[in-house]
Symmetry: C2
Subunit: 417 residues, 2 copies
């Protein structure tokens, strides 16, 4: 059972088209790389996506139901997913001499990350289809998001994680009642087992780049940006990139707006990767040839990906938008994380601050104009990774005596008074 306006599922690689109910995951011809795009009867969907209609619609993802692959919007989880704030942080813009810089804070989603958008659609789709169990392989935001949203509606979750997954991340999963399976191996082993379980037991699978509906959840950030900007789009949207599914989702959202005749031109998408984990950035320069890098590593753990699972759509999307990829060293991500918090009050996780580091580089290298309208998408809350934040800090607390009579002297020594 699906939104009746879904007309086809089209492979992002070979362009083969499938009937809406024919395939659940990737293109059979292209294998797990063949991520499917969900397409709609945009003519039928158009009226409810007009600004006038949306101004009357309730907040939340259900407002976009006409172009979501769900049959029943009441199956969306009851938590407040999406509708995240767009800020125009004057101080940050001033610091970078970039007055039209905007920040959309998706760390304000219920479980603290952008991934709630994708999980919400996954949950609704499971409920549409009478499915009571969802599985995924993840150590991070995707799994905690899935577990949290499933908890809100009573779906079971079974999460495969590598044995060395940080206890803090496993804690969130367990709090939400997920069954957590620690695989004595790597993330890739965990991923493989989750795929096996899906094949063998029919468990519904939320793996990134595999389940095509996730991209449809992620695209809602693009739809919101269009609304946030007053039913138009900025010149650039920058986001951190690991497996490519977020930037792919953004492209899909803007593309759908174009298909609906609601925007002429897509924002140029800037995919920002850490130097140590830059498979897609390299592929973008090398004719889309994706070469896995098993040793990929960055301090921005949410975008530390050696084998990007949504490569096809990410590369296609960035190219189609007229955008590009750029890389930044971890040191610059750390600087950006502190700068974002200190100059806008938005505490993002390292991956969330990565696009700001990218924009700084773009400005320095004159790849974009200082007057351009730019939106940085912060994809995760800094509270998710306090140890990451600790690494970013270059300042520390001062120690002072408890004796009130010494206070003024102490403060003078520290040049505070």
């Amino acid at each position: 059972m699906k939104n009746l306006l879904v007309t086809e599922m089209r492979c992002a690689l070979c362009q083969k088209s499938y009937q809406p109910d024919q395939i659940r995951y990737t293109c059979p011809d292209c294998g797990t790389d063949g991520i499917l795009e969900v397409l709609y009867d945009y003519g039928q969907a158009a009226p409810s996506m007009q600004p006038k209609a949306l101004r009357q619609a309730k907040p939340g993802l259900s407002r976009y139901a006409a172009i979501l692959p769900i049959a029943n919007p009441s199956h969306l989880p009851p938590l407040r997913v999406g509708g995240t704030p767009l800020y125009h942080p004057q101080r940050l813009g001033h610091l970078l001499d970039c007055p039209n810089l905007y920040v959309k804070d998706d760390g304000q989603n219920p479980t603290g990350s952008f991934k709630d958008r994708a999980s919400a659609i996954c949950v609704a789709s499971a409920l549409d289809n009478g499915i009571d169990l969802i599985t995924a392989a993840s150590t991070g935001n995707a799994a905690s998001s899935l577990s949290g949203l499933c908890a809100s509606v009573g779906l079971k979750t079974i999460i495969f994680v590598p044995e060395h997954a940080p206890q803090a991340k496993v804690t969130q999963l367990l709090m939400f009642g997920a069954t957590v399976l620690k695989v004595r191996g790597t993330y890739d082993d965990a991923f493989e087992l989750s795929m096996q379980a899906t094949a063998k037991f029919g468990w519904y699978n939320r793996n990134t780049g595999f389940n095509p509906f996730l991209l449809e959840g992620k695209k809602t950030a693009a739809l919101e940006l269009w609304e946030d900007f007053g039913y138009r789009v900025p010149e650039y949207v920058a986001v951190g990139v690991g497996d490519g599914c977020i930037i792919g989702g953004l492209w899909k959202g803007f593309k759908d707006l174009q298909r609906l005749g609601l925007i002429d031109k897509l924002p140029k998408l800037i995919g920002v990767q850490a130097e140590g984990s830059s498979v897609l950035s390299k592929a973008f320069k090398n004719g889309d040839k994706v070469v896995a890098e098993p040793d990929a590593d960055t301090y921005a753990d949410s975008i530390s990906v050696g084998m990007p699972r949504a490569a096809a759509i990410a590369l296609k999307g960035v190219r189609d938008s007229g955008g590009f990829f750029i890389t930044v060293p971890d040191s610059k991500i750390m600087e950006a994380q502190v700068m974002l918090a200190k100059y806008s009050g938005v505490f993002g996780e390292p991956a969330g601050a990565t696009p700001l580091a990218g924009i700084r580089r773009c400005l320095e290298e004159k790849l974009i104009d200082h007057q351009a309208e730019i939106c940085v998408l912060v994809t995760g809350n800094g509270l998710k990774d306090i140890s990451g934040a600790m690494k970013s800090l270059t300042v520390s607390a001062y120690s002072i005596d408890r004796d009130p009579s010494k206070l003024e002297t102490s403060l003078k020594e520290l040049h505070i008074v």
Copy 2:
């Protein structure tokens, strides 16, 4: 400079009245216990607080500007403070046989806690008065909230913390650019130094129970609840209580609604304290005699308070509402934290889950009816204190082999398939 509708500041202890600009902090006659209530010309304020007017007003705290002690609503920080979601979590209600149980998730504020409401008013008041520096003593949510909101507008913050403040909490302050002074002593020493600095250097002070405007920020949660419930109030509102300022603020908000003629009756306020930190609960039973307990301790660190700074208003407020205090052991707070996450998808910090533990006890002891309409206010995000959550968990992850051929056997052994 102030909201011209502020008519007086009245001491919660001796009832003495002061002119709006006469006093900045507590009642001179009662000392630091004499918290002041800000009162307004409610007749003048009434039109803009009518449901019809509010339905047209922008989201955010500025919608309540008529009864906030600020001169210029544009001085409110640009972050999305307030407007937090109210949920009606069916599964949780079913579990507790309490179908009319609601949860308001204030952990969804920008820095992850209810305290953002108070900090927002403090920031606006500073900007109203041309103040560029705010100080506070805190290891927790109040300080990170103040630092975050100040970062968004460029105000300086100087935070006094005890030397053993957890590094994770200090990290948030430093990320937001606060100057952090670690006092070689206890929390009380830190508090004392912050008061000295205020007296000596004229720094604007955000300490709880001292600055009367903070309560006005906290009351906005009550105003929102009234709106969330369709311009009426539930029978009970339960909240965790440490120093008493949150429950005092809720009372003030509901009281203002009553003064405005918008509600007849206040919700009964249920103050839930941890057994190990229950000064106000004891005082409520003993004729409001507040006896400090320097050894107070609970795992719910945000409400671990031996010397409650807003005792007068908390006791008065709970009594006036027809409510009561109740205590729960830490073990029940831990259970409630897991229950809240698992059955509603809301991951609250321990203090945030405390009112749920209190409601469970009330239901068990038949202090409240199972059919009653109850709202639990979750005051902080669980991501703020992952180590606290780890202590709450009674389940753990399962370890399985990476070999796909062994998957089915492993899952059978674990009774998963």
